[in-house]
C-alpha cells in the first residue's frame, strides 16, 4: 500500500469568540489509509473536520492537500480537491427528494442550466444500492428517519468520488447489518486508494477498521499511533490523560426512598417502548447507549416535552406529565443536550437565564424583581465559579464550560428532587468538567435523584451507582456499579454477545 500523505495538517489553531477550540492540531492522512481521530467530546474533532472541509478557516497553521498548500479554503474548493464529509447531523433539504438532495451535493455549480431527472434518479439509485440500502430516491427528505437521513449522507459522500473522506460518527444510527456493510465499503475505498478520516467514540470499531489513530485532547494532538499497537485502555488513557479514578471522585451517598419509577413506559411518537427503571433519592443512575438509542427521548418524555402513554410514578404516586412547566412544578429538572439551542437563551443575560425556570421565586405579584434576580445570579457565579464579568453579560459571550454551568444553575435554582442531565459535560473544558461533576455529586448528597445521560463511558463508569444501557429505544440492561465495564456496556449497547467475552478496559 502506498504511503504518500494526501492530507497533512500542521499547527492548526482556531478560536471562537474567545474560546480556543483548537490549540495546535497536526494530522496526516495517507493514501489508502483509514485513520481514526478520537478524543473526548469537545476535544476539537468536529472543528477540525469543518476546517478540512472548508466550512471554517483556521486562525493559523498549514493545510496541505495532495501536496499543494491550500489557503482560503471554501467548501467548493474542498470538493474540487476530492474532499467529502459525512457529518454527524445530516444537512438535508427537507422539501426535496432523496435523489435531489444527493444530486445537489454532487452537482455543485457545474453541469448547465437544465436538470436531468433521469440521471439524478439513476445516480441516486445506484449510490443507495452501493450503500446497500433499499431506499426509494423519490421520497421526500423531510419524511426520512434519522438513520435514513444518515444513509443519504453516506450516499452523497460515496458519490462524491472522494479521495479524502471524513466520517463523523457514521455508525451512530445504523443497524449492525448496515454497519457491516459500511465497513466493507470502507475497505473497498481503502483498496482504491481513498484516505478516510474516521471519527468515532466506538473504540472497538476503531480497532476493527483503523490503520492509525490520532488522539486529540483539549484542542491538541496528543499522539498518533498505529492501531495495532494500542488497545482500548491505551486509547482512553491518551484521550483522558489521567487515570479514571482521579477525574471522577465518587461520593458515597446514603440513598433514600424511590423518587422516580417507570414501568413499561412507552412513547409511540418517539419510538420508546418497554422501559422500566427506578431511581432512588441520592442515587445517580447513568444512561448509556449509542446515539439514537432512546436516552434523550426518554428524558424528553420524563420532562413533559412529549407525552407518555402511561403514567410515571413520583414518590410512589402516578402522574401524567404534560408539559415542561408541569414537570418543573413536580420538581423535575432537565439539562438538555443541546446547550446552545435548548439549554440557554444565548442573547439573554446570565441572571435571566438562571431564573428562567423559577421566575416565580424572583417575582413579586408577577413582576420580576430585578435586584433579587441579579443577586441570585451573582451568587451562582460565585458558588459555581463561573468565569464571567457579572450577571448582566449575555450568555453568548461565555465559553462552553461556563455556559453549561449557567445552564445547570437554572436547575439548581428550582431545587429539584429529580434531575435529568443530558450530556452535561459535552463540549466542556476539563476544568469545568470536574467542577460540574463535583456539583452533580453535591446534588446527590442533598438527596436529589439523578439521571445522568452520557456518551462518555469513563464519565458514566466513574459517577454512577447503576447504569442503564439503552439499545433501540428500550433498555437492554441495567448494570450495577461494581459489575460495569466499558466492554459490558458496549456489549449491551450493541447487542453483541461476543463482545462480553472480549478484553476489558483497565480502569
Amino acid at each position: 500500500m502506498p504511503m504518500n500523505p494526501i492530507l497533512s495538517a500542521t499547527g492548526i489553531t482556531k478560536s471562537f469568540a474567545g474560546i480556543q477550540a483548537l490549540k495546535g492540531v497536526s494530522f496526516e492522512l495517507r493514501e489508502g489509509e483509514v485513520h481514526a481521530l478520537i478524543g473526548e467530546n469537545g476535544a476539537g474533532k468536529s472543528t477540525f473536520t469543518k476546517i478540512v472541509t472548508g466550512a471554517l478557516q483556521p486562525d493559523s497553521g498549514e493545510l496541505v492537500v495532495h501536496g499543494q498548500r491550500v489557503a482560503n479554503f471554501s467548501p467548493q474548493a474542498a470538493r474540487s480537491l476530492g474532499i467529502a464529509a459525512i457529518h454527524q447531523q445530516p444537512l438535508l433539504f427537507p422539501h426535496l427528494t432523496v435523489a435531489e438532495n444527493i444530486a445537489l451535493a454532487l452537482e455543485n455549480g457545474a453541469s448547465g442550466w437544465r436538470v436531468d431527472w433521469k440521471r439524478r434518479h439513476g445516480q441516486a439509485r445506484e449510490l443507495l444500492h452501493r450503500v446497500g440500502v433499499d431506499l426509494d430516491p423519490k421520497r421526500i427528505a423531510g419524511s426520512l428517519s434519522m438513520a435514513e437521513q444518515q444513509i443519504v449522507e453516506i450516499a452523497k459522500a460515496i458519490g462524491a468520488d472522494a479521495k479524502i473522506l471524513l466520517m463523523d460518527e457514521p455508525t451512530a444510527l445504523l443497524t449492525d447489518r448496515e454497519v457491516d456493510h459500511l465497513f466493507s465499503l470502507i475497505r473497498q475505498f481503502r483498496q482504491s486508494g481513498v484516505g478516510i478520516v474516521y471519527i468515532s467514540h466506538r473504540l472497538e470499531e476503531i480497532q476493527a477498521i483503523a490503520d492509525r489513530i490520532t488522539v486529540l485532547r483539549d484542542g491538541n494532538t496528543i499522539a498518533c499511533r498505529e492501531a495495532a499497537g494500542i488497545d482500548r485502555g491505551g486509547m482512553i488513557q491518551l484521550m483522558v490523560g489521567r487515570s479514571l479514578a482521579s477525574i471522577f471522585p465518587k461520593h458515597t451517598v446514603a440513598m433514600g426512598a424511590t423518587a422516580l419509577e417507570v414501568c413499561n413506559l412507552s412513547n409511540s411518537s418517539l419510538g420508546l417502548h418497554d422501559i422500566s427503571f427506578s431511581v432512588k433519592k441520592g442515587e445517580i443512575l447513568g444512561m448509556a447507549g449509542l446515539v439514537g438509542s432512546g436516552r434523550t427521548e426518554l428524558a424528553k418524555t420524563l420532562f413533559g416535552l412529549s407525552p407518555a402513554a402511561c403514567p410515571i410514578y413520583l414518590h410512589g404516586s402516578p402522574v401524567q406529565i404534560h408539559s415542561p412547566a408541569h414537570a418543573i412544578s413536580l420538581g423535575i429538572g432537565y439539562l438538555p443536550e443541546d446547550r446552545r439551542q435548548h439549554g440557554l437563551i444565548l442573547d439573554m443575560d446570565l441572571g435571566e437565564n438562571m431564573s428562567m425556570a423559577s421566575l416565580d421565586s424572583v417575582c413579586r405579584l408577577g413582576l420580576v424583581h430585578r435586584e433579587k434576580e441579579a443577586s441570585q445570579g451573582e451568587r451562582y457565579i460565585r458558588d459555581l465559579r463561573i468565569k464571567a464579568a457579572g450577571a448582566s453579560v449575555a450568555a453568548r459571550t461565555l465559553s462552553g464550560g461556563n455556559q453549561q454551568k449557567v445552564a445547570l444553575a437554572r436547575w439548581l435554582a428550582i431545587d429539584p428532587q429529580i434531575m435529568i442531565l443530558d450530556e452535561p459535560t459535552q463540549g466542556v473544558d476539563v476544568g469545568s468538567k470536574s467542577e460540574i461533576h463535583e456539583l452533580i455529586g453535591q446534588m446527590a448528597e442533598r438527596g436529589v435523584a439523578i439521571i445522568l445521560i452520557s456518551s462518555e463511558l469513563p464519565e458514566i463508569l466513574g459517577m454512577c451507582d447503576r447504569i442503564a444501557v439503552f439499545r433501540k429505544k428500550t433498555i437492554a440492561g441495567i448494570l450495577q456499579r461494581e459489575e460495569a465495564t466499558q466492554a459490558r456496556i458496549m456489549a449491551l449497547a450493541f447487542g453483541h454477545p461476543d463482545a462480553l467475552a472480549q478484553e476489558t478496559v483497565q480502569a
Partner: protein, 661 residues
C-alpha cells in the same frame, strides 16, 4: 447585549437616532411653521395618534415574539360597526353597546390566538385571512353603506373633549402604555415574550408556557383594537365599516422604525412610541407646511429602509470591530447634532423664501379639500381652483386624503385650523365626522365652505351647491326614463359601497322612480370602488346575470368609462348614463354607447371654491346676500346659505366637444 429596558433606561443606537431625528423634526417644523409649536397643535397631534398608538402598543409585544397581526385595522372596523349598530338598531345604552363591541373584539382576538398559538399556524397568513374576514364581516353586516352617527354628547366627549386641556383619549392611551410597559418590561410574562422571540424552543425547554403567552398577546391585541375602535367612533362621531383601513401597516412601520426587529426578541415600547410620535409629527408638520399628503408616504418608506438598514449595518460593524462600538454613541449624537444644524438652516431658508414670495405682505391662504385625490373629477376642479388663485393672487392649498379612512379629512382640517388659514373649503366625504371639526374651525373664526357634498348646516358658512343630491338623482332618473320610455330593468354602479353621497343619490333615484316611473325596476347596485377596471368587470357581470337590464347608471366618474367599455366590448345595446367627466367619456359619447352624462362645469366649481372662499375670508359676503359676484362666473344666486352654481348639465353628443374638463 440587552434586549429590553432595565429600570434605568438604556436606549439603543437606533432610538438615540430617532430621538435626535424627532428633535430635528420639531425644530424644523417649529421654525418654518409658526403654528406648529403651540400647545393646541401638540395636543391635536396627540389626539390623532391615540387610535394608531393603541395598535402600536398592542402590536409591539407580538412583534417581539416574532409574530405579526395584520388584522388589527379590520378589527377596528368590525368593532366600530358592532358598537354603532348595537346602539342604533338594538337600542342598547352606550355602555352596553360598548361592552358588546368589546366582546366582539375579544372574539376577534380569540380566533387569532386559537389559530396561531394553539394550532401553531403562521401568523402572517392567518392574520392576512382575518384581516380580510373581519373587514368583510363589517362590510357584509352594514352593507358597507351604513354609517351610524348622532351619538350623545357625553359619549363624544371621550373622543373630542378635553380634561385639563389634554384630549381625554390621551389619558386612556397613557393607561394602556403603562399597562403594556409593565407587562412587557417588568412582568414575568414579558420576560417570557422576549425569550419566545429569541428562541421559542429554548423557552419551552425552560418551562415557559409558550402557547399561553402567545395566546395572551393575540387576545389582548383584539381587545385593544376594540378599545381603539370605540375611541375612534367617539373621535369622529361616526361608526362605519371602513374605519381603521391601513392602520396595521402604519402601526408596524412605527414599531419597526422604533427599533423592534420583525424577527423577534428585540425592541421595546419606548422605541415604538417614539416611532409613532415621529410619524405623527412628520405628518402634522408636513400638513402645516402645505406639503401634499403623499410626501408623508414617500418619506416614511425611505425612512423605514434607512432605519432598518442602518441598524443592520451598525450591528455588523459592531460584530466586526469591537473598538468602533465605543464610538457609536458619540458619533450618533454628533450626527444628530449636525443634522439639526443643517435642518435649522433649511428651515430658515424655507421660511424666508416664503416670506419673500409673499412680498412681505400676508397673502391670504385658501385651503381646499377634495374628497379623494385620485379622482379625475376633482382633478379638473383643481384646475379651476388654481386659476382662481392666480387671478386673485392668493395661496392655494389643495390637499386631501390618500386613503379611505375618514379620519384623514379631519386631521387635515385640524392642521389647517392650526395654521389659521383664511378659508377652508371642503368636499365632504363623511358628513357626521367632518362636521365636528368644521364647527371648530368656525369657532376659530375661519370661514368654512363646503362643496360637492354638504356637511351639517351649522358646520359651514356656505355650501357651494352645484346641484342638490335630489336634483342630480332626479336628472339621472329622468334621463334614464327617457331612454327607456319609462319602463324596463336598470342597474346602478356606484363608487365604494360606503360613499355617503352616492348612497344619497341612490335613495333619491329609487324615490323618483317609485314616484314617477313605476314600471322601471332597479335590479342591483354594484360597487366599483372608484376603480375603472372594477366597474368594467361589474358591468360585464350585470350584462350576463341580468340580461333584461336595459340601462346602467354609473354614478362614479371612473365608473362610466369602465361600464361603457364593457358594454361596447360586449356589443350590447344597453344604455349607459351617469355622472362623469367629459374628457374621459368623450369617445363613448361619440360612439353612442353613453348617451348622456350629467355634470356641471367642474372647473367652474373649482374656480368657485377659491373665489367664494376668498370672498368669505374678506368678509365680502353680507349676511343676507341674495347674490355674489364670482369673478368670471358672473353673478351667482345665493339662497340662504347655499351658493348656487347652476343646474346640472346634460352632456351629450351635441355639446361635449365644447367642453374641456
Amino acid at each position: 447585549m440587552h434586549t429590553h429596558l432595565r429600570p434605568k433606561f438604556r436606549l439603543s443606537g437606533i432610538q438615540w437616532a430617532l430621538l435626535g431625528a424627532l428633535l430635528v423634526e420639531i425644530i424644523v417644523f417649529g421654525v418654518s411653521s409658526p403654528a406648529f409649536l403651540t400647545w393646541t397643535n401638540g395636543m391635536e397631534i396627540l389626539r390623532f395618534s391615540v387610535e394608531l398608538g393603541l395598535l402600536v402598543v398592542a402590536l409591539t409585544p407580538i412583534l417581539i415574539t416574532g409574530g405579526i397581526d395584520l388584522s388589527v385595522g379590520s378589527t377596528i372596523g368590525l368593532v366600530a360597526v358592532t358598537f354603532g349598530l348595537a346602539w342604533q338598531n338594538l337600542h342598547l345604552s352606550i355602555p352596553a353597546a360598548a361592552a358588546l363591541a368589546l366582546l366582539v373584539a375579544l372574539l376577534c382576538g380569540v380566533v387569532n390566538a386559537a389559530l396561531i398559538a394553539s394550532l401553531n399556524l403562521p401568523a402572517l397568513i392567518i392574520t392576512l385571512g382575518t384581516y380580510s374576514l373581519y373587514r368583510g364581516v363589517a362590510e357584509g353586516v352594514t352593507h358597507a353603506a351604513v354609517s351610524v352617527t348622532g351619538y350623545p354628547e357625553s359619549f363624544l366627549r371621550l373622543g373630542q373633549g378635553y380634561l385639563w386641556s389634554v384630549p381625554i383619549q390621551v389619558f386612556v392611551f397613557l393607561l394602556f402604555i403603562a399597562f403594556y410597559a409593565v407587562l412587557l418590561h417588568w412582568s414575568k410574562v414579558g420576560r417570557g415574550l422576549y425569550a419566545i422571540g429569541l428562541n421559542a424552543e429554548g423557552a419551552r425547554y425552560a418551562g415557559l408556557p409558550v402557547r399561553r403567552y402567545l395566546a395572551l398577546v393575540y387576545l389582548l391585541s383584539g381587545v385593544v383594537s376594540g378599545v381603539a375602535a370605540i375611541i375612534y367612533v367617539a373621535h369622529l362621531g361616526l361608526a362605519k365599516s371602513d374605519l381603521g383601513t391601513g392602520f396595521e401597516l402604519q402601526a408596524i412601520t412605527a414599531i419597526v422604525i422604533g427599533g423592534t426587529s420583525v424577527f423577534g426578541g428585540r425592541g421595546d415600547l419606548f422605541g415604538s412610541v417614539l416611532g409613532l410620535l415621529f410619524l405623527c409629527v412628520l405628518q402634522n408638520g408636513l400638513h402645516l407646511l402645505a406639503q401634499p399628503s403623499e410626501a408623508t408616504g414617500v418619506l416614511t418608506g425611505a425612512l423605514l429602509i434607512l432605519v432598518v438598514a442602518s441598524d443592520l449595518l451598525t450591528e455588523r460593524m459592531q460584530a466586526m470591530r469591537q473598538r468602533w462600538a465605543r464610538w457609536r454613541r458619540p458619533l450618533l449624537i454628533a450626527g444628530a447634532a449636525g443634522a439639526a444644524v443643517v435642518a435649522i438652516a433649511i428651515a430658515f431658508t424655507l421660511r424666508s423664501s416664503r416670506a419673500n414670495a409673499g412680498l412681505a405682505e400676508h397673502r391670504p391662504v385658501i385651503a381646499v379639500m377634495p374628497k379623494a385625490k385620485g379622482d379625475p373629477y376633482f382633478i379638473s376642479a383643481r384646475a379651476g381652483a388654481e386659476e382662481a388663485a392666480r387671478q386673485l393672487g392668493v395661496d392655494l392649498i389643495w390637499d386631501g386624503p390618500t386613503s379611505l379612512d375618514p379620519s384623514m379629512q379631519n386631521e387635515l382640517v385640524e392642521s389647517w385650523i392650526t395654521r389659521h388659514v383664511d378659508a377652508i373649503v371642503v368636499a365632504v366625504a363623511n358628513k357626521g365626522s367632518i362636521s365636528t371639526v368644521l364647527r371648530k374651525a368656525r369657532q376659530h373664526h375661519i370661514p368654512v365652505l363646503t362643496w360637492d357634498a354638504d356637511a351639517e348646516p351649522d358646520g359651514r358658512d356656505y355650501f357651494l351647491n352645484q346641484a342638490t343630491p335630489q336634483a342630480i338623482a332626479d336628472t339621472l332618473a329622468d334621463e334614464g326614463a327617457r331612454l327607456l320610455n319609462g319602463k324596463g330593468d336598470f342597474a346602478i354602479i356606484t363608487g365604494p359601497l360606503s360613499a355617503e353621497n352616492q348612497n344619497e343619490w341612490i335613495s333619491f333615484i329609487r324615490q323618483r322612480v317609485a314616484e314617477r316611473y313605476p314600471q322601471m325596476k332597479l335590479v342591483t347596485v354594484l360597487p366599483s370602488d372608484d376603480d375603472r377596471d372594477k366597474a368594467f368587470s361589474q358591468t360585464q357581470n350585470i350584462l350576463k346575470v341580468y340580461p333584461d337590464v336595459k340601462l346602467i347608471i354609473a354614478i362614479s366618474a371612473p365608473a362610466v368609462p369602465g361600464a361603457a367599455e364593457a358594454v361596447q366590448q360586449a356589443r350590447s345595446k344597453v344604455n349607459v348614463i351617469g355622472l362623469s367627466l367629459p374628457t374621459i367619456c368623450r369617445p363613448y359619447i361619440h360612439s353612442g354607447v353613453v348617451q348622456t352624462i350629467v355634470l356641471w362645469n367642474t372647473r367652474d366649481l373649482g374656480y368657485l371654491t377659491v373665489y367664494a372662499g376668498w370672498l368669505a375670508s374678506q368678509g365680502k359676503i353680507p349676511p343676507n346676500a341674495t347674490s355674489i359676484n364670482a369673478g368670471r362666473l358672473g353673478e351667482l344666486d345665493v339662497r340662504g346659505s347655499e351658493i348656487i352654481l347652476g343646474k346640472p348639465m346634460l352632456i351629450n353628443k351635441a355639446n361635449i366637444d365644447k367642453l374641456d374638463f
